[in-house]
């Protein structure tokens, strides 16, 4: 194809602008990783640099000095994310299926029942009291799983997908074959919905993984604190950092670099994994933006 000058010009602009955005998007992480390898001494004297004057693995040594803690934090996060995502997907898709079936007369009322919760809520005070005082969910693994479990938007996206992308004929023939509603759901609809399940599943998992609000509100017990919240506490409090490394009165306590190392440990997995998951997120955004 003949490349005329105006196309070349736009191509150049694209490279510059998009390239700039891309660099801005990733540079902070590179700076983070590089400086986490800097010695505390270097940070105190020279601050964070593009290339540290002195390298050291002390900070990471500190982080993993008490590996039990890190392991515990990761275990909680993985458990909550795993259980939460699976249960959420299962129940959400069931609800979405009901909303998508034309023979369900009350489906619009039910959809509104869900949607109304987006428009109006009873306030933080009530919510907090309900969960901590009335339901006694504070300091349990369940509160971490239940609070972020459902998103009305996700249910509606799944509904739209099921209503638009699953041919009525297939369901009809399954019915003729004698399958009940529940059977049709598990044997026909669910397998056919795998694209939207994959995407919504990933959105849900990401939400669980990054959740710091729920533990902040409801978890005081250290054994139950998940990843992002632990990171938050560490960044927000100097004394917390000291606790983390076991209250060792060392002069060269790597405080600043410790924060960086911890951040890398908390975020590293995501950075490594996300490029492989990107296509499902893109798929999810595309499905979601096709409003039914």
């Amino acid at each position: 194809m003949k490349k005329s000058s105006d196309v070349a010009a736009v191509n150049l602009i694209a490279w510059v602008v998009v390239g700039l955005f891309a660099v801005l998007a990733t540079a902070p992480f590179l700076i983070l990783i590089i400086n986490s390898l800097s010695s505390e001494h270097s940070i105190i004297n020279h601050g964070y640099q593009l290339w540290p004057s002195e390298f050291s693995l002390d900070a990471y040594g500190m982080v993993f000095q008490n590996p039990q803690r890190i392991l515990n934090v990761y275990t909680v996060t993985i458990l909550v994310t795993g259980i939460g995502t699976v249960v959420s997907l299962l129940l959400s898709s069931m609800a979405a299926y009901v909303l998508a079936r034309r023979e369900v007369r009350y489906r619009n009322a039910l959809a509104f029942f869900l949607y109304f919760t987006q428009l109006f809520n009873g306030g933080l005070v009530t919510y907090y009291l309900l969960i901590s005082r009335d339901l006694h969910l504070s300091n349990t693994l369940w509160v971490l799983i239940l609070v972020p479990m459902f998103s009305v938007m996700n249910i509606l996206i799944m509904r739209n997908y099921m209503a638009n992308s699953i041919p009525e004929a297939i369901i009809e023939s399954a019915r003729i074959d004698g399958m009940g509603d529940i059977g049709i759901f598990f044997r026909v609809v669910l397998p056919l919905s795998s694209p939207v399940l994959a995407s919504i599943g990933l959105f849900t998992a990401l939400g669980y993984w990054n959740d710091w609000w729920t533990p902040m509100m409801f978890i005081q017990k250290q054994e139950l604190q998940p990843l992002q919240y632990t990171l938050y506490q560490m960044l927000a409090s100097v004394t917390y950092t000291a606790q983390m490394v076991g209250n060792m009165p060392t002069l060269n306590l790597p405080k600043e670099s410790l924060k960086l190392a911890m951040t890398v440990v908390a975020t590293g997995p995501i950075i490594l994994v996300y490029p492989f998951l990107q296509k499902y997120f893109v798929q999810g955004i595309t499905i979601g933006s096709v409003k039914g």
């Binding site: 005329s4 010009a9 919760t117 009873g122 009940g180 975020t267």
Partner: protein, 312 residues
């Protein structure tokens, strides 16, 4: 199954009985929202009470509009409302603008590999939590150690205490918001662009239209529906702030509080830090009611333009 001949409305329980399996499948989700969303709605009365722990929501004494009066007279109502509206408007405008620009540019890029790599790079901020972002920002802006100040000092300039200068943040916050979301937003518009008809472009190109013209006259107008939907969705949420961002980046920083406090952070802080239940619940109810009214208005407006686009 039961194909009853034409009958008048069989009634609620008949309907459930006809599809017991289906309605049963809806129960878990319904139960969840009943407990976690609808039951708390009855507690809005706490905004009109002088809450204490012994009495709980129901036992605490009423105090009429006192909480709201304090919310208004302390200046907080005006301040957080203005902040919330201003910031959300800035965020929405910047987000839409840059998402469209980046999407169009990526779409026009010739090199496929570069496209993929750039998109992947752009998407990274979306995946990380605001907690991590606050760490990154701290690395950059910290007065003693931050990279910005390190570089400034290397050039002989004086370091800047960014965390103490309230004037910088009305610019910084939209920047970070776009930074976090442009990857996501550009994908949205790229999906829309991918669905556009190629023939129009070819015809225009044959007729001598250059690429700028093609973008301006063909791409952009066809993106208008998507932009409008997002705009309306955004306006509908104009009173709900990006709590995570504000709380993580600003936190409890006294210097920046006045300039950056939004309704959500006020509600949260009043509950968690200062234990001011009255303020928290009054501000919360205020926000809910306003949100509700705004969404109804926006939805009504959209309904009149194009019924299919309305939310309900």
């Amino acid at each position: 199954m039961s194909t009853k001949p034409l009958r008048k409305s069989p009634g609620f329980f008949h309907e459930i009985a006809r599809h017991p399996g289906l309605y049963a499948m809806f129960v878990p989700v319904a139960l969840y929202f009943l407990v976690f969303a609808y039951v708390p709605m009855t507690g809005v009365v706490v905004a009109f009470k002088d809450f204490n722990y012994q009495g709980g929501i129901w036992g605490s004494p009423w105090n009429g509009w006192d909480n709201f009066r304090y919310f208004f007279e302390s200046g907080k109502l005006v301040q957080v409302t203005i902040n919330t509206l201003l910031y959300n408007t800035l965020f929405l405008a910047a987000y839409l603008f840059f998402s469209v620009v980046v999407a169009i540019l990526v779409a026009e890029m010739v090199n496929k590999l570069a496209k993929k790599i750039f998109q992947t790079m752009l998407f990274l901020p979306y995946f990380i939590s605001w907690v991590t972002v606050s760490a990154l920002v701290y690395n950059l802006f910290n007065y003693e150690y931050g990279l910005t100040n390190t570089i400034l000092k290397a050039f002989g300039a004086a370091p800047v205490d960014i965390y103490a200068d309230a004037n910088l943040w009305p610019v910084l916050l939209p920047f970070f918001y776009v930074w976090k979301w442009v990857g996501f937003g550009s994908v949205l518009f790229l999906a829309a662009i991918a669905g556009l008809d190629r023939e129009c472009y070819e015809a225009a190109s044959i007729d001598g239209a250059n690429i700028f013209y093609r973008i301006w006259r063909i791409t952009l107008p066809q993106l208008k529906p998507t932009i409008i939907i997002l705009l309306l969705l955004g306006v509908g949420r104009i009173m709900r702030g990006e709590f995570d961002m504000f709380y993580q980046l600003i936190g409890t920083n006294g210097n920046l509080m006045d300039a950056t406090d939004i309704i959500d952070t006020l509600v949260f802080r009043s509950l968690v830090s200062t234990q001011d239940f009255g303020m928290s619940s009054a501000a919360g109810l205020y926000q809910s009611v306003l949100c509700f009214i705004i969404i109804l208005a926006v939805n009504g407006f959209v309904r009149r333009q194009d019924k299919s686009q309305a939310l309900f």
